[in-house]
Symmetry: C2
Subunit: 284 residues, 2 copies
């Protein structure tokens, strides 16, 4: 019996459509999923197997001249669980086919270029599952809230980003954008854990509390991102992330669904199979 308890498919249940209101989000909800945690973990393991097989096919496709790739864009406030998605979801597939890139404060070299320069350089090559831990969206999130550039500059970026993503998608890369959203209360719990456990101190940054204090401004910036960049070729998925198991299950499902949508076949042999078998037999 199938363990599938998605009553509404994840890519529909989570998609940010026009009029989506971030302020009304229930961070503890499990949109589309009608099962409990155990059932969610069972389903995630099952889909993880699918994902592994699908990603191998994508890799094979890329190794034989194919042009398709997948790009997972992960955004979220501190402690939203981006790292857990990388470890537990991306960690289910073959490292050989993964191209992971984290975007922090731009380096001096990066600052000499347009904000999309480092992003373009990190796009996955054909056959790869690219993962962006933060992304060009920081250039309309932290950069907007902290007033790092003037409003006319960040204000122009939404359209620039849409044009950029349309170009990337047209070149063959399926883009999966995920915004992980935790409640202020859950965020406080997770920050407290980082402060109380010495093995987690390295994950804590005093700046996290400054950001948390400006949460309304960040929510406003996220709302603008959802309003202006959830396009048909690259829609946003807003994932309530207070329940880690749900967030991981949802991203697994979004990735598996996207890879299935590529509808790839195993590449045909570009050599004479019978002749090669005969050569092998002759070698003994």
């Amino acid at each position: 019996m199938s363990s599938d308890r998605w009553q509404t498919p994840a890519h529909e249940a989570l998609r940010a459509r026009p009029g989506f209101d971030l302020a009304g989000l229930d961070h503890d909800a499990t949109p589309g999923w009608e099962g409990d945690r155990d059932q969610g973990e069972e389903r995630m393991a099952e889909r993880g197997e699918d994902l592994l097989a699908l990603q191998e096919k994508l890799y094979a496709h890329g190794r034989t001249g194919g042009t398709r790739a997948v790009l997972l864009v992960l955004q979220g406030l501190d402690t939203a669980g981006k790292g857990g998605i990388v470890r537990h979801v991306v960690g289910m597939v073959d490292p050989q086919g993964v191209a992971l890139r984290s975007f922090g404060v731009p380096t001096p070299e990066e600052r000499e270029h347009d904000y999309l320069w480092r992003i373009r350089n990190a796009l996955p090559r054909p056959g790869y599952l690219g993962v962006f831990d933060r992304s060009h969206y920081e250039d309309v999130l932290v950069v907007r809230v902290e007033e790092i550039v003037p409003p006319d500059v960040w204000g122009a970026r939404y359209d620039e980003i849409n044009a950029f993503e349309a170009e990337v998608a047209a070149a063959g890369t399926a883009i999966v954008k995920v915004a992980l959203m935790v409640s202020p209360a859950e965020q406080a719990l997770r920050l407290r854990e980082r402060l109380e456990r010495p093995d987690k101190h390295w994950k804590y940054n005093p700046g996290d509390l400054d950001v948390r204090a400006r949460r309304p401004a960040y929510e406003e910036a996220y709302q603008a991102v959802l309003d202006r960049t959830s396009t048909d070729v690259a829609p946003w998925h807003v994932v309530p992330a207070d329940r880690k198991w749900y967030a991981r299950l949802a991203v697994t499902e979004l990735l598996a669904h996207t890879l299935e949508g590529l509808d790839l076949a195993w590449p045909p042999a570009d050599f004479d199979v019978a002749a090669e078998l005969a050569r092998l037999d002759a070698q003994g």
Copy 2:
């Protein structure tokens, strides 16, 4: 009860010492391991947990100014199982802390530089587990056997490689060199599978049979590598690879042992923990 059935530690049982004779290798053996396959898989899962925790500590170390890294160098003939090590061993740790690089035929840009140029560029940064799927050793293996450069050129490389690796080790990177060795019979079985299964055709290259036909020359080149580059700072481990479970168990153990040897601690907080807890409480 511990599942540890290493009678001789892997790093001792597998180390290529002076006088090691590759021609005498039993490819089906399980050096040092006194258990069966089930016990091996159980132990591997257990050590995989250790490896995950150790690698997180290494990553934390790197994020807080530490200088240590680990580099796994994988060599082996076609079908020896390098890809399986990446998928099943490296796949057990957090993708965030892994820097994987495959080295194929040099690109035009790479050819304009010294053979170690692309290798230096791919060295893991502090905190990372770097993995080389093939490496600079191709420059004294395929390059030697296929006579791509004259003998005096490749002949000088053994000492160059030793000097290079000594420099890398001195800078803080622990180097784990693994040569996976399959028997000609097992290799034929694996190549046959790639030919008989359409979902494996993409892994097959007619050149693999040409290489297989020159196995004595490749073995001679591997023997020279073991004789001349199994140094104290970067010894070779020769892993019989006819039994995939053993090869994966052995590499898991070698990596876990190496990470344990770094003896890292969780980085101390570089902020006032009590003050931050007070700030968090004040935010509510």
